[in-house]
């Protein structure tokens, strides 16, 4: 009890005084997860739109697969990326294992199905409503996609933020492919796991607090944005 309360005190003081060790870890976490979300979005948004708009044989199967992959266990993704990047693996010669790049790759894979599935759903719903109008005014397929992505931007943003929430909070994949190396690949979640097992509760708790605040902040913002957009644009 006493130990816990003194740890909380130490954690708060680390946050308030912007302890350099803590800041370094938080910044690396943000850099990795934001990069992963940006990379995944660049591929997943247009791909989701394409799946929504272009009928092809097996589309239903792809949609089911995409939705199922939203629940992909991060440890398994970590393991797959590890096998790809390890010395003996097909991408081994690139020497990416245990670097932030490897962690970005793993998180991109985790986030990708979330953004793609939500993008597909959003664009499909919007398309049902807009289709006749877009055909009536003679939109090319590309113009249609641009229109739909733009008009669905707030709902898409919610999906992207959900992806970020998942990336920043996962531990399994970054631990396996990053290796939790101090000053190099140590992020919030892996540090919490390590410091807790070492008995250094102050740092673990401090990071835990920041992580919780980030998660709440991201989800809260997403809610506010989608509410405001609904009121404004219907």
């Amino acid at each position: 009890m006493n130990e816990a309360s003194s740890a909380i005190g130490a954690a708060l003081s680390m946050i308030v005084t912007l302890d350099p060790g803590l800041v370094e870890i938080v910044l690396l976490s943000l850099r990795i997860s934001l990069s992963a979300v940006v990379i995944a979005s660049i591929i997943a948004l247009p791909l989701g739109a394409l799946i929504a708009l272009q009928p092809f044989p097996g589309r239903r199967g792809v949609v089911v697969l995409l939705n199922a992959m939203m629940g992909l266990p991060p440890v398994v993704v970590g393991l797959m990326v590890y096998l790809l990047l390890s010395r003996a693996g097909p991408l081994g010669p690139m020497g990416l294992l245990f670097t932030p790049t490897a962690m970005i790759i793993a998180q991109s894979i985790i986030v990708f199905p979330i953004i793609a599935a939500l993008s597909r759903q959003t664009i499909a719903d919007l398309h049902e409503e807009y289709d006749e109008h877009l055909r009536s005014i003679g939109c090319t397929p590309l113009q249609s996609v641009v229109t739909l992505l733009r008009d669905g931007r707030y709902r898409l943003l919610t999906g992207i933020m959900a992806g970020f929430g998942r990336a920043i909070a996962e531990v399994g994949a970054v631990l396996i492919v990053g290796g939790n190396i101090q000053h190099s690949t140590r992020v919030m979640t892996t540090t919490i796991a390590l410091e807790t097992s070492k008995g250094n509760l102050a740092l673990a708790l401090g990071l835990g607090l920041i992580l919780v605040m980030l998660a709440l902040g991201v989800n809260g913002t997403a809610l506010v944005i989608s509410d405001a957009a609904k009121r404004r644009y219907g």
Binding site: H133, I137, R150, Y233
Partner: protein, 264 residues
């Protein structure tokens, strides 16, 4: 209703440039619109049975009839949103698909984009590849025509029903289509809004756009029609000039409909 200044002096910005899409068809008059033995079935059910007509280039043609007569389907067939099961339909010497680039349609519930009022007009200009420099002028003219100038930056979906309808018509007419198709343009509007929308339709027609619209509202058809196509139970029963149709309808069902009888 304010007259569109740009239209009034005859030099509409849209005429000053060439648009890739329009260039192909602009030398082909769209009218007359000719249908021969037009049929449309859905899942084996007949929605339009064996309709033939000839619609000339002047005035406002009103497709009149009770709900479920097939008016909307006929309009959608003319615009090429759906394809006939049988028969023939052509706009001048163009196919329905070719003619669409010179037409605009305002459905019963127009789809307004999740953007500002001005953004809705701007969207169609960008789709039709109007040079950027000309867009603002066209947007301003369209909004003035719709009486929405001071609502330009409002989200379109927060407008009232009448304002939304006017925006939809202004947006459809911004590039001065040869033909404007309107499906029940004043359903669910109050009398003041109906008057504004009707005045707008009249102004668009007077500026040289052929109007083809549906309605189930007899007084509205009286106010707007120069010729009437009476549709009942999936068939075209009469097509005559407005004077002829309202004074001495030849079809007995049309006469009963005009007398206010509810046709089943």
């Amino acid at each position: 209703m304010q007259q569109n200044v740009v239209m009034a002096n005859g030099a509409h910005p849209a005429e000053q440039s060439e648009y890739a899409e329009l260039a192909v068809t602009e030398n082909h008059p769209l009218l007359p619109l000719v249908a021969r033995g037009l049929r449309f079935d859905i899942n084996g059910r007949q929605i339009i049975r064996n309709i033939s007509f000839w619609i000339g280039s002047s005035g406002r043609t009103v497709i009149l009839g009770p709900n479920g007569a097939g008016k909307t389907v006929l309009l959608r067939l003319c615009h090429g949103l759906i394809h006939p099961t049988g028969g023939e339909l052509c706009w001048g010497d163009l196919s329905v698909a070719e003619a669409r680039a010179q037409q605009a349609m305002v459905p019963q519930r127009p789809v307004l984009l999740r953007r500002s009022v001005a953004g809705n007009v701007r969207h169609i200009l960008s789709v039709k590849r109007v040079p950027r420099a000309q867009r603002q002028e066209l947007v301003d003219a369209a909004l003035e025509q719709a009486g929405l100038t001071n609502l330009a930056s409002r989200p379109a979906r927060t407008l009232s029903g009448g304002q939304q309808q006017r925006l939809a018509i202004a947006r459809a007419c911004v590039l001065r289509p040869a033909v404007l198709l309107l499906d029940e343009p004043t359903t669910n509007l109050d009398p003041a809004a109906v008057r504004e929308v009707e005045e707008m339709i009249r102004a668009v027609g007077d500026a040289g756009t052929k109007i083809l619209m549906t309605t189930h509202d007899i007084p509205q058809a009286r106010r707007l029609a120069s010729d009437v196509m009476f549709l009942n139970d999936r068939q075209l029963l009469e097509h005559a000039s407005a004077a002829e149709f309202f004074n001495s309808p030849k079809d007995p069902l049309a006469a009963r409909f005009l007398d206010g009888e509810l046709l089943g």
